[in-house]
C-alpha cells in the first residue's frame, strides 16, 4: 500500500494551504455504502458562516484518483429533517480550480443561489457515486476462491474547511470482512464499521483507512453501451441496446471446471455473473436478446402493468475478466414517451441502462428522429457531450437526423429522463408508404407498357411479319366467333318463339318474329363475307380456314333446318293439328338440328382454343 504513504506525504503539504473563507462545517455525517460495485457516499454537511461576508459557494474536495472515478455528484439542501425530504432543492455543482490549492485535488463548487449570510447555517446532503472504486485483492483468483476487494478512504472528511464534529459509517455486504483499519474510535457493528466521532479537525485533514472484505456481487461493467432510440410516428419507439460487458472483479486464473460449477455453483464460481435483470418500461413488446452470432435462448420475461422484467443470462457464466457482448431490443408504445408542447414534439425517456447493477464506462445514447425532423434541441438533467449524425434506414432519401449523447462513468443515479424536442409534420409520415405505392405503380405501368409496346429490333424479319399476320388472323377469328354467337342467339330466339306459340297460340306474332330473325340472319351473313375473304387471303390462317368454312356451312345448314322446322310447326298450328302430331312431324328435323347444333358447338370451341 505505497499509495497510502504518498497521501500522507502530500497531506503535510496541504496543511500549509491557507483557509479559503470563513465557513466551517459544524457537523459532518458520512455514510459509505459498499454493498454494490458502485460506491455511494452520502455526506450530510452542516455549514456555518462565521465570517461577515455573504458566501455564495461551498467547496467540496476530492483527491484526483478518486475524482476520476466520480460518476455522479449532487448536493441538495436538506431543510426539514427526515421526512420533509421532498422539499429538498438541489444546487448546481461545478468543477472549479481555486488558486493556491494543491494540484492533486479536484474541487467542486456548490453554488448557493440565496447565499449564506453572517452566522447563518445550512444543511447540505451531498451524494457522490464512484465507479471502479473497489479494487479486487488478490487480483487473480481461481474458480473456488472467493472474491475479496479493498476500499480506500479517509476517516477524516477531506475539506477545505475546518470540521467541528464528524463521523463515518461504512456499510459492507453481509459477508466476511477480511480486515479494516483500526484507528481511534473504531467500532464494528454487524456489517457496519463506524469511525468517529472526531472533533475539531483543521482543514484538509486526512486519515487513510482501508477496508478489505468479501464481495461476491457481480462486477458487471459495460465498457461501452450504445442505446439507440428510434422514433416511428406509426406508433412505436424502438430501443436497441448494444452491451459490451466485462466482469470487472478479480481475474480468474487456472482451470474452469464445468463439473464443479454445475455441482456447487454458489461455492465454485460465487463471483460469476449468472444473470442480469433488465427492468424495462411497462408495455414493452417485441423484446429480443441476441448477439453477433444469433439469438440467445437463455432469457425469461415477466410483465405486469407496472413494469416488464427481462432476466437475461449471458451465453456462459462470466468469471473475472471474461467478456461478452450482446444486444437487447424492445419496442415501446409511442404515446407513453412522446408528447406535445408549444407546437413541438418531445421525447421523454430514461437516459441510462435498464440493467441496474451495471456500471457503464461509456454510454452513447442515439436518438433517431423521423426523416424530416427539424429544429432539434436536447435537454438533459446533467452535462453530456452532444453530437449529431445521419442514419439511413428503410426507404430513406435524405436520412434520419440522429442526436448522439455521450457520457462516461454512468451509474444507476443517471437513470433520469431527458428530453429531445423537435418539429415534425404529420404529413411526412405518409412519404414512405407513398414511395412504396408509387414504386409498385410504376412497376405495373412498366409491365403494361412492355406488354403493349413493340420491342422487336427488325421490323422486316420473317418471324416478325409472321407474328403480325398471326395476330391479324386471331383478331379475324375472334370476329367470326362473335358473329356466330349472334347467330346462335337468333336461333334460340326462333325456338323461343315456337314455345310462345305453343303457349299462346298466336300464329301471327310467331310469323313476325321469324321474319325479323330471317332479316337479321341475312345481315349477319353479309357481315361475315369480308371476314372470310380476309382469312382466305392470309397464309397464316391455312390451318384454321377449313374449320371456319366447315363452320359456316354447318351453320347455314342449321339455319335452314330451323326455318323449315319453324314453318312446319307454324303450318301445323294453322291447320290446328294436335300437339302430338306436330311433334311427330318435327321429330326427325329436331334430331338433325340437335346433331348440327352439337357440331357447331364443337367447331366453335375448337376455334376458341386457337
Amino acid at each position: 500500500m505505497g499509495f497510502r504513504f504518498d497521501l500522507l506525504m502530500f497531506m503535510i503539504v496541504l496543511l500549509s494551504v491557507p483557509v479559503l473563507s470563513n465557513l466551517i462545517l459544524s457537523n459532518v455525517d458520512r455514510r459509505i455504502d459498499l454493498t454494490t460495485q458502485a460506491v455511494r457516499i452520502t455526506s450530510t454537511l452542516k455549514v456555518e458562516n462565521t465570517g461577515s461576508d455573504l458566501v455564495s459557494e461551498v467547496l467540496l474536495a476530492f483527491p484526483d484518483d478518486q475524482a476520476k472515478h466520480l460518476a455522479y455528484l449532487t448536493a441538495t439542501n436538506n431543510e426539514g429533517k427526515g421526512k420533509a425530504k421532498s422539499s429538498s432543492v438541489s444546487f448546481p455543482v461545478d468543477v472549479v480550480r481555486p488558486k493556491g490549492m494543491h494540484p492533486s485535488l479536484t474541487f467542486y463548487s456548490v453554488s448557493l443561489p440565496k447565499g449564506l449570510g453572517k452566522g447563518a447555517s445550512l444543511t447540505l446532503d451531498v451524494l457522490a457515486v464512484f465507479a471502479h472504486a473497489l479494487q479486487p485483492f488478490p487480483e487473480r483468483i481461481t474458480q473456488p476462491d472467493i472474491q475479496l476487494v479493498v476500499f480506500n478512504e479517509t476517516a477524516h472528511y477531506l475539506s477545505p474547511y475546518a470540521v467541528k464534529v464528524q463521523s463515518l459509517t461504512v456499510k459492507l455486504p453481509d459477508a466476511r470482512i477480511e480486515s479494516f483499519s483500526k484507528i481511534e474510535n473504531t467500532k464494528i457493528h454487524g456489517s457496519e464499521v463506524k469511525y468517529g466521532p472526531y472533533e475539531n479537525l483543521p482543514p484538509f485533514s486526512y486519515s487513510s483507512i482501508v477496508v478489505h472484505f468479501e464481495a461476491n456481487q457481480p462486477f458487471a461493467i459495460a465498457q461501452q453501451l450504445i442505446r439507440e432510440i428510434e422514433i416511428s410516428h406509426w406508433g412505436n419507439v424502438q430501443v436497441t441496446e448494444h452491451y459490451n460487458l466485462v466482469h470487472g472483479g478479480a481475474q480468474s486464473k487456472g482451470e474452469f471446471s464445468r463439473l464443479d460449477y454445475q455441482a456447487r455453483p454458489h461455492v465454485r464460481g460465487a463471483s460469476a455473473i449468472r444473470h442480469l435483470v433488465a427492468k424495462l418500461p411497462p408495455r414493452a413488446h417485441s423484446i429480443y436478446y441476441r448477439d453477433e452470432i444469433g439469438n440467445i435462448s437463455t432469457s425469461k420475461l415477466w410483465g405486469d402493468p407496472k413494469k416488464t422484467e427481462l432476466v437475461i443470462e449471458p451465453r456462459y457464466p462470466m468469471f473475472g475478466g471474461w467478456r461478452t457482448a450482446f444486444t437487447i431490443g424492445y419496442g415501446l408504445p409511442l404515446q407513453d414517451f412522446l408528447f406535445h408542447s408549444e407546437g413541438k414534439r418531445y421525447l421523454n425517456i430514461s437516459f441510462g441502462s435498464p440493467i441496474n447493477e451495471v456500471v457503464i464506462d461509456t454510454l452513447i445514447v442515439k436518438v433517431v428522429l423521423p426523416e424530416g425532423s427539424a429544429d432539434i434541441s436536447v435537454s438533459a438533467p446533467f452535462p453530456v457531450k452532444q453530437g449529431q449524425e445521419t442514419k439511413f434506414s428503410h426507404l430513406d432519401v435524405v436520412g434520419r437526423p440522429v442526436i448522439v449523447l455521450e457520457k462516461t462513468n454512468v451509474v444507476l443515479e443517471h437513470n433520469q429522463h431527458f428530453q429531445v424536442y423537435y418539429k415534425f409534420s404529420s404529413l411526412s409520415m405518409f412519404g414512405e408508404p407513398l414511395m412504396l405505392i408509387s414504386g409498385f405503380f410504376f412497376l405495373f405501368v412498366a409491365c403494361i407498357i412492355y406488354m403493349h409496346a413493340d420491342l422487336s429490333i427488325s421490323k422486316s424479319s420473317p418471324s416478325y411479319l409472321a407474328k403480325l399476320q398471326w395476330d391479324e388472323v386471331q383478331a379475324g377469328v375472334q370476329q367470326v366467333r362473335n358473329i356466330f354467337d349472334r347467330c346462335l342467339t337468333l336461333h334460340d330466339k326462333l325456338e323461343a318463339s315456337l314455345r310462345d306459340l305453343s303457349r299462346t297460340g298466336d300464329v301471327q306474332a310467331c310469323k313476325a318474329s321469324r321474319k325479323a330473325v330471317d332479316g337479321l340472319l341475312k345481315d349477319i351473313s353479309k357481315d361475315l363475307k369480308p371476314l372470310l375473304l380476309s382469312l382466305q387471303s392470309s397464309p397464316q390462317a391455312a390451318q384454321i380456314l377449313p374449320k371456319v368454312e366447315e363452320l359456316v356451312a354447318k351453320e347455314r345448314d342449321l339455319q335452314e333446318k330451323l326455318m323449315v322446322k319453324h314453318s312446319t310447326v307454324v303450318d301445323s298450328y294453322e291447320k290446328k293439328l294436335s300437339g302430338r302430331e306436330i311433334e311427330n312431324r318435327v321429330a326427325l328435323q329436331q334430331q338433325k338440328i340437335t346433331a348440327l347444333r352439337q357440331e357447331v358447338d364443337d367447331l366453335l370451341d375448337f376455334i376458341d382454343e386457337i
Binding site: E255, F256, S257, I293, R315, S463, A595, Q598, D605, D608
Partner: protein, 740 residues
Amino acid sequence: MVGKAEPVNGSVKSGSNQSIPATMQSPLKKSDLIPNLSLKTLKLKTKQQELLIRVSILCLVYVLAFITRLFSVLRYESMIHEFDPYFNYRTTLFLTEKGFYEFWNWFDSESWYPLGRIIGGTLYPGLMVTAAIIYWLLRFLRFAIHIREVCVLTAPFFASNTTLVAYFFGKEVWDSGAGLVAAALIAICPGYISRSVAGSYDNEGVAIFALLLTFYLFVKAVNTGSLAWALASAFAYFYMVSAWGGYVFIINLIPLYVLVLLITGRYSMRLYVAYNSMYVLGMLLAMQIRFVGFQHVQSGEHMAAMGVFFLLQVFFFLDWVKHLLSDTKLFQAFLRITVTTAIGVGAIALGVGMASGYISPWTGRFYSLLDPTYAKDHIPIIASVSEHQPTAWSSFMFDFHILLFLFPAGLYFCFKRLSDATIFIVMYGLTSMYFAGVMVRLILVATPAVCLISAIAVSATIKNLTLVARAKSKVTQTGSVRGSSSSKGSSKPFQRNGAIALLLGAFYLLSKYATHCTWVTSEAYSSPSIVLAARGAHGNRVIFDDYREAYFWLRKNTPPDAKVMSWWDYGYQITAMGNRTVIVDNNTWNNTHIATVGRAMSSYEDEAYEIMRSLDVDYVLVVFGGVTGYSSDDINKFLWMVRIGGGVFPVIKEPDYLVNGEYRVDKGAAPKMLNCLMYKLSYYRFGELTTEYGKPPGYDRARGVEIGNKDIKLEYLEEAFTTSNWIVRIYKVKPPNNRW
C-alpha cells in the same frame, strides 16, 4: 394418340411454332367441350382464362416453394445452418465489406495455420457474388437489411426461381401442363428442399437453379437452332461454373447427349449451332473463374466435351461432302477414311496430352463417382463424409416418395414421344439417377430430372383420364338437356367411371406426396444442426445451444491471435463464429495437414503436445456427446481421424484402437484408445459426473456404456471452458515449463 397431351385448359402457342401443334391438336379437340361454361360468365376469352389460371398457378407455386422452406426460421431463428454455409457467410460478409477486388485477392491467414488459404482462387464465387448483388440492390432501393437475412433467404429465393425454370423446361419438353406439374413437384420435393431451406446458404442452393437453367436453355437452343438461346445457355453455364463444382456434370452430360443424338441419326443444323456456340463460349467464360482456370482444356474430366466438339465438326464436314458427292459408294469409302483418321488423331492427341502431363488425369472425386468403392480404399477423407456414402433405398423413398414410381412411367411416355428434348430429359434422368445411387448428396442433382419426368407421367395420365371423363359427361349433359337419349357413348359404360376412379386415385397419391414432403421438410430438413433441440421430460422443447456458447466464448475470451485445433468439421464454424485461427477446416485441400491433426488427436498426450507445439496451437476444441446423448461427436468420428492420420503417418495404426476389430470406449477398450488425447479430452473429469439416474458415474449416454478410464489427468493441457451440456469442451495448451 394416347400419349398426345395438351394442357387441360388448352394450349397457347406463340406464333413462331404454332404450325406443329395446330395440326396435331385437331383430332382431340372435338371432345373438349364443356368446361368453359361456367367461366364464360367471366367474359374472358378461353385463351385469357387459360393464361390467367396458368399464371396464378405459377405464382402460387412460386410462393409455396419459398414459404415451405421457412420452417427453420419460424422454429429457430434467421440463422445460417450446418458447416459450409458458415464459410460462405463469412466470405460474403467480407465481400460486402471490402468489395470485390479485395475478395478476389483475399489471402486468409485465419485458416489452415500456418499455411493459410488463398480464398479468391480456391472457391466458387457465384453464391457470394449473387448474395452480395442482391444485398447491394436492396440497399440501393433503401431497404436497410442485414446481409445475414439475404444469405439466409438466398436458397429459398433461388428454389422459387427453379420452379419457374422447371415450368419452362417442362413446357419445352412436353407441354405447359407438364410444366405446371413439374413446377409444383419440384417446389416441394424433399430431395431439393434438403439443400435449399432458409439458412442453408450453400453453393447447391443457387447451383440447382443454374443447372436446370443451363439444361433448359440448351434444350431450347437445340429445339430452335437459335443462336440467341445457345448464347443464353452458355451464360447460364458460366453462372453454374461460378457457383458449384457440379458443373462437371453439365460438361459431361451435354456432350454425351450430343453423342447419342449423333448415333441415333438425329444430327441437325440446330444441334450444330447449339452445341458449338454453347461449348466454345461457355468454355471461354468458365476460364474466367480462377478456381476453374484452364481445366476445360487441360483436365481429363473435360475432354469428352472437347472430343464431341471435334466430332461435330467432322460430322458437319461429312455432311457437306455428302452434299457434294452424288456417288454413295465413293462417300462410304470417304466416310470410313475420315472417321478412322478423326478417331485416330483424337486418340493420339489424348494419349500425347496425358503422357506429357498437359492433360491431367481424372481426380479421385471423379473416380469415386464412377466407382462407388474407390473412395473407401483410396481417399478416406472423402469416404469419411456422411453425405458421400452410397444412397440407401430408404433415402430414395424419403426424398422422392411417389416420384420414384412415377419416374419409370414418365420414361415410358418419353419413349413414346421421342424427340430431341425428351431424349435429353431421359438421359439426364438416367445418368443423374445413377449418380444419386453412388452418393447421397447427388440425389439433389437427380431431383429436377425426376420431377420433370414424373411431371410428364402425371400430366399425360391425368390428361388422358380427364379426356375420357369429360367426353362422357358432356354427352350425358347434352342428352339430359335435350331430353332424348344420346346417339353415342353407350358403348363403354365403365370407361368413364373407371377414369374417374383413377383420377381420384391420382389425386390421392399427389396429396399424399404433398403431405409427405411437408412432413419431411418440417421434421428432417429444417434443423440448423448448430442448435440442437430435444423434447424434455414434460414434452417441452429443450434447446442445446452449446456450439454457439463455445464459439462465442472463444470469440470473446481468447487472445485475438489464438490458434484453435479441432477436427476439420468445425473449422468453418470456428472461424466464422469464433473469429479465431484454425489449423484445418472443411475445405479439405491439404490431406497431410488434416492427417497431422488426426495424428495429434490419436497420440498420447506428450506426443500430441509436441505436435501441438510445432503447430503453435493455443486451444484444442473437442465435441463430446456423452452427457446429452448427442451421437455425432468426436469420439464417434475418431476412427476416421485414426484412418486419415494413419494414411499419412504410419505410426498410427487402426488396430491399436480396436479390440478384436471392435471399437469401444468402456473398460474393455484398447489401452491406446483409453490414453489417447481425444479420449482424455472428451472424458476429462467425466468419470465424476452422474449423467443418468440409476447408472454409475461416468455413464456415456451417446454410446450407452460406462467409460473405461475415469481417472484422467492432464499434464500439458488444462480445461479452459466446457459448455453447459458438455457438448463442446475447450482446452488450453499450457506453455512449456521453465527449465530452471
